[in-house]
């Protein structure tokens, strides 16, 4: 088996969350690479949509921001900021959204707003951007994060983007996290909205996963995450990220 980096494994795993014909609300980095990989392999008809309003985008060079000129030039249509949220997320047209954050809890609530108190924060994070909308409206949300105790606490300081919340008195939509892909494991949310370890990456010990997670995990008999295939690595290295910006 060829050597591969953790990032390459994460990209390959994220790509498997995408089905053919999906419309994906894409972020920069791993999500963009995962979409590029899925499109080359099992999802040739996926539609990539960026928050900047570029619809059905293709590109040669990896963008640094979600609003880079190559995303506009390589798109089939461009809509306004308001419309990309309304016509795509609110209207229920997005199958998969990708999210990350400073803190993620076992129910998929994500904090990207503040560490500490909101009015007197220890660390002021960037805030929601479109994350709350992605969590609220995409059919499946895939969370990408490094696996560290501070990243996966028992509860988040601030819920920027909703996870599996249940608001008994109000039958409006809530978040729909599907999976958390880390550099140690893949967790998937069960029917009660709880994240369980589905597989641990090759070479990672179960106790390492538990130590890096803020809640108690059931780790008996979990699978080993499938390694990236040669073909996947070839596409990642030679076509998608030749400068190893995200996968080195």
């Amino acid at each position: 088996m060829t050597e591969y980096t953790k990032s390459e494994l994460m990209v390959a795993s994220a790509a498997r969350e995408i089905h053919d014909d999906d419309a994906v609300f894409v972020g920069i980095g791993v999500p963009t690479l995962a979409c590029g990989l899925a499109k080359q392999l099992h999802a040739p008809n996926l539609t990539m949509i960026y928050e900047s309003g570029t619809i059905d985008t293709t590109f040669d060079e990896l963008p640094l921001s979600i609003g880079d000129p190559e995303l506009a030039g390589g798109s089939r249509s461009i809509v306004s900021l308001y419309d990309v949220f309304c016509k795509y997320l609110q209207a229920g047209r997005i199958d998969v959204g990708f999210l990350g954050g400073a803190q993620i809890d076992r129910y998929g609530n994500i904090n990207s707003t503040v560490i500490g108190d909101y009015d007197d924060p220890t660390v002021r994070l960037p805030g929601s951007g479109g994350a709350c909308e992605i969590a609220s409206n995409a059919n499946r949300t895939v969370i990408i994060t490094p696996h560290e105790p501070r990243r996966l606490p028992e509860s988040v300081d601030f819920a920027t983007s909703p996870g599996h919340v249940t608001t008994d008195d109000e039958p409006t939509r809530s978040g729909s996290p599907e999976a958390i892909i880390t550099d140690k494991a893949i967790m998937r949310f069960d029917e009660s909205g709880d994240a369980n370890v589905e597989s641990i990456h090759p070479g990672v010990r179960p106790d390492e996963v538990q130590q890096a997670t803020g809640w108690e995990l059931s780790l008996d008999g979990v699978d080993e995450t499938a390694e990236p295939k040669e073909k996947e690595l070839d596409i990642i290295r030679n076509r998608l990220d030749p400068n190893r910006r995200y996968t080195g």
Binding site: G67, L89, S174
Partner: protein, 304 residues
Amino acid sequence: MRTAISKTIHDGDCLYLSGFTHLIPFAAGHEIIRQGFEDLTLARATPDLVYDRMIAAGCVKKVLFSWAGNPGVGSLHAFRRAVEDGVPNEIRTEEYTHSATAARLRAGAHGLPFLPVRTFEGSTLPEHNDTIRKIDNPYGDDRIYVVPPLEPDVSVVRAQRADREGNAHLWGITGEIPDAAYAADRVVLAVEELVDESVIASDPNRTRIPGHLVDYVVEEPYGAHPSYAQGYYNRDNEAYQAWENASATHERLLEWLDEWVYAVDDHTEYLEKLGVGRLQSLEPEATYTAPANVGAYTGGTTHD
């Protein structure tokens, strides 16, 4: 731009310098810093480097935003210092999500008292912003969040080209630029180039900012640098990456402002300091849109 800023902006105003990644009016932001405003409310979905600089310069009392970072790079350090430590002064924040900021501008542009948004359910954010409210859906048993209009006193918008009346052709990522123009009380438009009205009239569908909205039209090439203008120059990603270091401390950031804002007289001097080589390195290979036949129905405009 100097006149446009001094005539339209007053201390205490709410400003919206628009552009989602694309066409951010950096040159206008630098001119606002030079003119020494100190009591502005800055609204923008993504404050970006331009508001970071204005905050560090002490122009700002309040920021309305939904994502305050350096895209693909890291933090807005001046914004963080102001929020976390009150440096150089305390600023108040009014925080939304992107769809809510965009809905606020759209409601302002459309003369509506509010717009419903499908977001916030299960988020902590509404607890900290009482302009985000929830109402009954009159057609169902559920409830939905709403946000009120945002009507900036002044919007500064950029486009690629316009005629002297301010009818502006805009392409690439349009973001919230047209909404910001329609929502504002006063509008300053800066363009990469002024063109003959026949160019604009040939393609009215590309005019996303009609001239009747515009108070001042300024021809200001490269005025979005280090942001970009689709077809004119690329995003200067190196400048975005360098900001991480240049803004790491307040002192270093003030040195940067001294060198790049206060010590230059205007945008032309900024460009001279930047150098022709840097600008040339950002020039994309030209590729043009396929023509569309609009038909010569009228002699008044398209074949005058």
